[in-house]
């Protein structure tokens, strides 16, 4: 049942992403409004799907990689809705939702019955998972705003800004948003990963080095650490900072991909 509701949520997200993208091409508000309503509808279904899954499996619905990604997307959509409403960042959805979809569409296959190994399931794991999730959610938004920054910058540099430019927030605002999402993500990511390694170091011993998810996580953390220190210490701004955020996100995707494709100790 939860899978059905999840499919409904995904369908709403697909429609929402489509109308958000259409609204970018036209300087008209109808599609933007439609996108917001569809996103909200999708998010409500998504919430129901997660809760239902918890009841149906009679356990916390955050113990497989697929479930984790689903919850992370749920957080992302929530924050996207909140920022669009609170800060009037109406174009954000057009950049965030496709990412949500790209990740979300891979889930139905993975959602079914992959569980963490029983001996790893403990309160520590849940904390590790929750922290990493929040971090990843912020990084999806970081990617969205970096992408918007580059597009807006391109539009303004060509000196013939089109309707896309009018639909997006100002450059400065986007630059601030990229920094804010990265700053928010980093502590969660760092503590979350550190907890995971500390726990796994004891439980898995040597196997840790063979777990692709763990290895990619380190690379991802290094890229984001470099980006953040570049911004804070080196005063990187604008284009360079945005490029780094995008590279970081590619590594993030590779990390998730590695977790799904290769059998490691993370269970899938």
């Amino acid at each position: 049942m939860n899978a059905v509701v999840f499919d409904v949520a995904l369908t709403a997200y697909i429609l929402a992403a489509t109308s958000a993208l259409v609204s970018l091409a036209w300087r008209r508000d109808t599609f933007a409004r439609l996108a917001r309503e569809l996103t909200l509808g999708g998010w409500v279904c998504h919430t129901v799907a997660i809760v239902l899954r918890g009841f149906e499996l009679a356990r916390a619905p955050v113990l497989t990689l697929a479930e984790l990604v689903s919850v992370m997307l749920w957080v992302v959509v929530f924050v996207d809705l909140w920022m669009e409403r609170r800060h009037g960042l109406h174009a954000l959805g057009a950049f965030v939702l496709p990412v949500v979809l790209a990740l979300g569409l891979g889930l139905p296959t993975g959602l079914r019955d992959l569980a963490l190994e029983p001996r790893a399931s403990s309160a520590w794991i849940l904390v590790h998972v929750a922290l990493v999730l929040v971090g990843l959610a912020a990084l999806v938004l970081n990617f969205g705003s970096a992408l918007m920054y580059l597009l807006q910058e391109r539009q303004l540099k060509t000196r013939r800004p089109g309707s896309l430019s009018y639909r997006m927030p100002s450059l400065e605002m986007l630059d601030r948003l990229t920094l804010a999402t990265l700053t928010a993500a980093f502590p969660f990511l760092t503590v979350g990963l550190a907890l995971g390694f500390a726990r796994a170091g004891r439980a898995w011993s040597r196997d840790l080095l063979l777990d692709p998810l763990a290895l990619f996580s380190i690379v991802m953390w290094i890229v984001y650490a470099a980006t953040l220190s570049g911004r804070v210490v080196g005063h990187w701004h604008g284009r360079r900072a945005a490029y780094f955020s995008i590279v970081g996100f590619c590594v993030l995707l590779a990390t998730l991909g590695a977790g799904v494709l290769f059998q490691g100790r993370h269970g899938s």
Partner: protein, 431 residues
């Protein structure tokens, strides 16, 4: 009722500026003309919109054609222009077409610059003036209230007035795409060109933006700084100031670029990524084209700004088509409503007449039945009420339907005659 409504006038579409100038009357003269037209009974209701782009009379009269001629004869006489001279420049619209014209004018669809916002205020002023002269009645009142509502919808539902259509405003709009809010941004104005000054003024309208003025002639810089309540800076310190400000407007007559790649690179050094926006209004250009390649620096010259304006104008025209469709729908709705209003007084007096008869007959009947108990009284009351309602039903429906179909007046006369309703029913209820 709607047939009595007319709009007549001349505008930038029909008359040259010289004529418009001549006919544009000041407030006192307008009061005089309004009072005259209403006082002599030429118009039952009248209002005059008089701007530099149009002079229009909105009126309600029994013979609209005559009222229109009288109005323009009267206005022309103020300036010694005879009606024959004005006649070829005048347009006149009656009934629904007049409604449409009013809606289009208020929504700025008939403006010289499509979607410009001033016209709505001007129409509102004209309406207020006519109201203060007591020359507005129910028809103009509902027409103009609806016109203002339509104008508001056009503004909110379409983008006909959204984007900048002047070079100076286009620059302001671009600054908004770069900076998150313009309040507190500082502006450096280099050179004393008129267009540069205008752009600086438009920017200042957006919030408190400190302005620095640099000019080769320092007295001119001082003068301009005073006008803009800014600060004059010596021309030699140009680049030092440039490193601090957010927006640079250049409009000097220099034949070679005064801001080179090296200067700009120097200026953005140490800005920590804070963007720098050059608005180069000078021809030939004051800022070297390649400066735009620097990260965080944006250079727009006059051609760039013009092309932004052209894009926006095209966008406005596209949006205007949607606005026209919206106006069209509103005109139909309004005309229907106005027509249905026309039969209301007849329906009301018909109802009153029958109620009067009923009351009188009921009193007579009860007088003959001194011993009647409450039940009998109620039965009689209900009986008479029932008969009256049944009798009223057919004529009421007929009146409503005929008004929708546009021939309400004929039926008003027929029914008034048949039921002996006193006087001619005309004019809607007071708003």
């Amino acid at each position: 009722m709607i047939e009595r409504l007319f709009v007549a006038g001349l505008s930038h579409r029909t008359a040259p500026l010289e004529v418009r100038e001549q006919l544009a009357l000041d407030e006192d003269k307008l009061r005089e003309v309004l009072g005259d037209l209403a006082g002599r009974g030429t118009c039952a209701e009248v209002m005059i919109v008089s701007t530099c782009n149009r002079v229009e009379v909105y009126g309600v009269a029994d013979v609209p054609g005559e009222a229109r001629s009288a109005a323009f004869r009267r206005m022309g006489s103020q300036r010694g222009i005879g009606l024959p001279a004005l006649e070829p420049l005048l347009y006149t619209k009656y009934g629904p077409e007049a409604v449409q014209h009013a809606f289009r004018v208020a929504s700025s669809l008939d403006s010289m610059i499509l979607g410009e916002p001033q016209i709505l205020g001007q129409v509102k002023d004209a309406f207020a003036l006519a109201q203060s002269c007591r020359t507005v009645g129910p028809v103009l009142h509902s027409l103009l209230s609806q016109a203002f509502a339509v104008a508001k919808r056009v503004r909110s539902d379409t983008e006909v007035g959204r984007h900048a259509v002047s070079v100076a405003f286009a620059a302001v709009e671009l600054a908004r795409r770069i900076f998150d809010g313009l309040d507190g941004r500082s502006v450096l104005l280099v050179g004393a060109g008129e267009m540069g000054e205008l752009a600086a003024r438009h920017l200042q309208d957006q919030g408190t933006l400190p302005v620095y003025v640099a000019n080769r002639t320092s007295s001119r810089a001082q003068e301009l700084a005073r006008e803009l309540s800014g600060t004059a800076v010596p021309f030699e310190e140009l680049f030092a100031v440039m490193a601090q400000v957010d927006i640079v407007i250049t409009s000097t007559a220099a034949t070679e670029p005064i801001v080179t790649m090296a200067d700009a690179a120097q200026a953005i050094h140490g800005r920590r990524g804070r963007p720098l926006f050059f608005i180069d209004i000078a021809v030939p250009r004051n800022v070297a084209a390649e400066v735009n390649d620097l990260d965080g620096v944006f250079v727009y010259d006059v051609d760039d700004l013009r092309s932004v304006v052209e894009t926006n104008l095209r966008e406005r025209m596209r949006e205007a088509q949607r606005a026209e469709a919206l106006v069209e729908r509103e005109v139909t709705k309004f005309a229907d409503r106005l027509r249905s209003l026309e039969v209301v007084p007849t329906i009301v007096s018909l109802r009153e007449k029958l109620e009067e008869i009923r009351q009188a007959e009921l009193a007579r009947a009860l007088g003959r039945l001194p011993g009647a108990d409450d039940a009998t009284r109620q039965a009689l009351e209900a009986l008479s009420q029932g008969i009256v309602n049944k009798v009223l039903h057919a004529p009421t429906v007929k009146l409503r339907d005929s008004s929708k179909a546009g021939h309400g007046r004929r039926w008003i006369e027929v029914i008034s005659e048949l039921f002996g309703l006193g006087g001619k029913s005309r004019g809607g209820p007071e708003p």
